[in-house]
Symmetry: C2
Subunit: 452 residues, 2 copies
């Protein structure tokens, strides 16, 4: 174990153990590549479709996927008892229902099973052939059934940027530093990475027009976010304390909160964004568990000296010292012309989830503080992850400063907002001295023309 | 048939047939009481729990409930073919999936079966004993699994009242007459009538305070709304036209959109209501089908001469002539003191759903116009049903004009907002010369003290 001493006094959810040991190697050779998102220290869960075998739920290891249902049927999890009973269907929902101890037990078992030297699966040729295949041979699907989806607004840099553009006199509203502002999103239109995104139509009104018109969105944008799946539920009328909040988180994905800025501007008063957001939200397929992220916990955002201390129900020392997660998030773009000319995607931004004003625990605690019941598999997203610098802005609205500073692409094209044929590619990963890189894979979507 | 001539040229979804004939009587005697909400002309669907038999789905007739699953197992629906295949579980979801033709076929079959003179069930003592019981012997549960819940804001009277209180300079925002303003609500906390409502806690900030505080909501309110369950879905990226929208509606319920006004005021900018609404939403248990409501279709709201005509995708002649529904909605209250003194509930308001600026078809068309996919069993609520007169205001905020005009109760108590122990009772019904009264039953909830 090489975990630096600083983590030893950390809360249990930030503690590392031998599953994080960077010296651990897997008999799946691609997992030992230092650049992989999925070393044996990660072991994220996902759901997939295999043309021969149908639906499955699996764990990513290097460039391979391990089919959990086949392992269970082969008795590999028999010693886990009830921990494996959730593994019986085509998505993670029943497994998430089993709770955090089941997740931890399965993670530990998979870590043993996939270690270099372990022969149970590695040297059982028949089982290995059935249960292990290349990720390129499966099509990932939504990891679970999302009941409710909530979107927050937790980056003060994003809120300030957007506020400055839309309300120059009043960029940051008075509630911002007191509550993690959030709103309910649309669960039915959450789709898996790779799903084409049809440009939405909607009402917009030009500033100088007398009346609105209906037609394809002209200011289509992405938002780079991090999403958390809820594990343990809370009963209606009962809040989750800030001390307990981490125990209610299952794991994280990348989220692209596609946004129609012109529609949003016209519709959003007084009840918030609606059609500007609900046409599609894309998530990455592999759910990276809270356990895999333990080594990357960092102090919460450093508030300015004049900022208010959060009210007691949103404050505790563990959250102050370890509530943040240092996930590097990147947005890349490849236009249709770039594809035609075989030009690789170019990076638009790189920021860190550690820059959020509010932590996931604070978001969840706030969400339940009035008694709202969170159900297993509900999704909460962070809001756009923007940092203090221009190159860390997590939306094109901010990068092009509402279109006034267009972005140059290698083809000579310019972008103020997204064009048809553009593919947006989000990536996320954690890196820290003394630990293996833990990645999220990709969250992709290509813009299709509006269907008018 | 006594349908007035005016409906003969109506769109198919507003056409009456012999199931609406006011002369029809049922062998269930209580259904022939002129005051019942559930005559044989209604036949709403719901889900229930029976202590001996467990879960069931049923149809209300007078003061009785008919268990559909038992009828199906007895072969009563054999002639319907596929129309009855959705009747196999403990809620309406699979039945709603079967689509509108299945709903219509089952309605027609139930109308025959329950008519005076029909002996199939009436004179089969054994089956009747199994399948028919008093509503007082079952406990109603949520009729279906709600995927997404959306709340609109479709009463211009409500929007103007609230706007005048909160933004006196700018009561009605510029988008109001162009789009049915709506926002996403919380599906997990939609509960069935009778569920106690715990007073939420939350952050609020007094106008003269430097900082917010956290504690029990002081300005707890109800909102009297009408909700529609979606039947036929639409694919993501494909909108529903105004001409087709009615075909996507399954049926209606009453909705109490409980609201924490003090929390709402502090949190709602810029992303809309969140904790102020998501602690609970109550619905009435019986889903009144669009077919049962056919005789009560009325022209859409009469816009002022200067009001804009809706954009083409939100406008058609059928919607103009029959898009409204004349449902009378009433709110009653009974305080704990009133209960202790055996004083019956008193009525706070009576309004009509015909007074909404936007129709349900316009709400659904708008909702899907950007490509958002609606799924079977999704719930859309209308927003507070307020009319032009004071006694038709559908929230206590409006009735007490933000607490400045308190409401007198028969005990001598006054109400500016809801007190612990208050029970709010909503009722809805349709009445028209030449037709039987069609009712919704009740939507009830009693306020429990905050759990601090």
């Amino acid at each position: 174990m090489t975990a630096p001493e600083s983590t030893l006094a950390s809360p249990s959810w930030a503690q590392t153990d031998d599953t994080h040991d960077p010296a651990l190697r897997s008999w799946v050779e691609s997992a030992n590549d230092p650049k992989t998102d999925f070393p044996i220290q990660n072991l994220p869960f996902g759901a997939f479709w295999h043309d021969d075998r149908g639906c499955g739920i699996g764990v990513a290891i290097g460039d391979q996927v391990v089919d959990m249902l086949i392992l269970r049927d082969a008795g590999v999890f028999d010693d886990l008892g009830d921990a494996a009973v959730g593994i019986f269907t085509d998505n993670l929902y029943p497994f998430i229902l089993e709770g955090s101890s089941a997740r931890r037990a399965l993670r530990r078992r998979m870590s043993e099973l996939l270690r270099e030297g372990n022969k149970e699966l590695a040297e059982n040729a028949e089982l290995r052939k059935q249960a292990v295949c290349a990720q390129s041979d499966v099509r990932m699907v939504l990891p679970t059934m999302i009941g409710d989806y909530t979107d927050f607004y937790a980056s003060i840099h994003h809120a300030t940027n957007v506020g400055t553009m839309f309300r120059p006199d009043n960029p940051l509203l008075p509630n911002y530093k007191h509550i993690p502002v959030g709103y309910h999103g649309r669960a039915s239109s959450v789709v898996i990475s790779g799903t084409p995104i049809v440009r939405p139509c909607g009402q917009t009104k030009a500033d100088d027009a007398d009346a609105p018109t209906f037609g394809p969105c002209k200011l289509l944008d992405y938002e780079m976010e991090v999403g958390a799946f809820i594990g343990e539920p809370n009963a209606m009328g009962r809040s989750v304390s800030i001390a307990d909040a981490e125990e209610h988180l299952f794991g994280l994905v990348l989220v692209n909160d596609w946004s129609a800025r012109d529609m949003q501007k016209w519709e959003y008063v007084p009840l918030g964004p609606f059609l500007a957001k609900n046409f599609a939200t894309t998530i990455s397929p592999w759910v990276v568990t809270m356990e895999a992220l333990a080594p990357f916990r960092v102090p919460t955002f450093e508030r300015d000296a004049g900022d208010p201390k959060p009210l007691p129900h949103l404050f505790n020392s563990d959250n102050e010292s370890h509530g943040g997660i240092d996930i590097t998030v990147e947005v890349w773009i490849q236009s249709q012309q770039m594809k035609a000319q075989n030009i690789e995607p170019v990076r638009l931004s790189r920021g860190s989830f550690a820059n959020m004003y509010w932590t996931l625990s604070q978001m969840l605690t706030h969400h339940t503080s009035g008694g709202c019941n969170m159900e297993p598999s509900d999704l909460i997203a962070s809001g756009t992850v923007s940092g203090p610098t221009k190159d860390s802005r997590g939306s094109m609205l901010e990068l092009s400063w509402r279109g006034t500073e267009p972005i140059d692409l290698p083809t000579g094209e310019q972008r103020r907002f997204l064009a048809d044929g553009d593919e947006v590619i989000m990536r996320g990963y954690c890196e820290r001295e003394g630990f293996r890189r833990i990645g999220f894979g990709e969250c992709r979507g290509v813009i299709m023309p509006a269907s008018t």
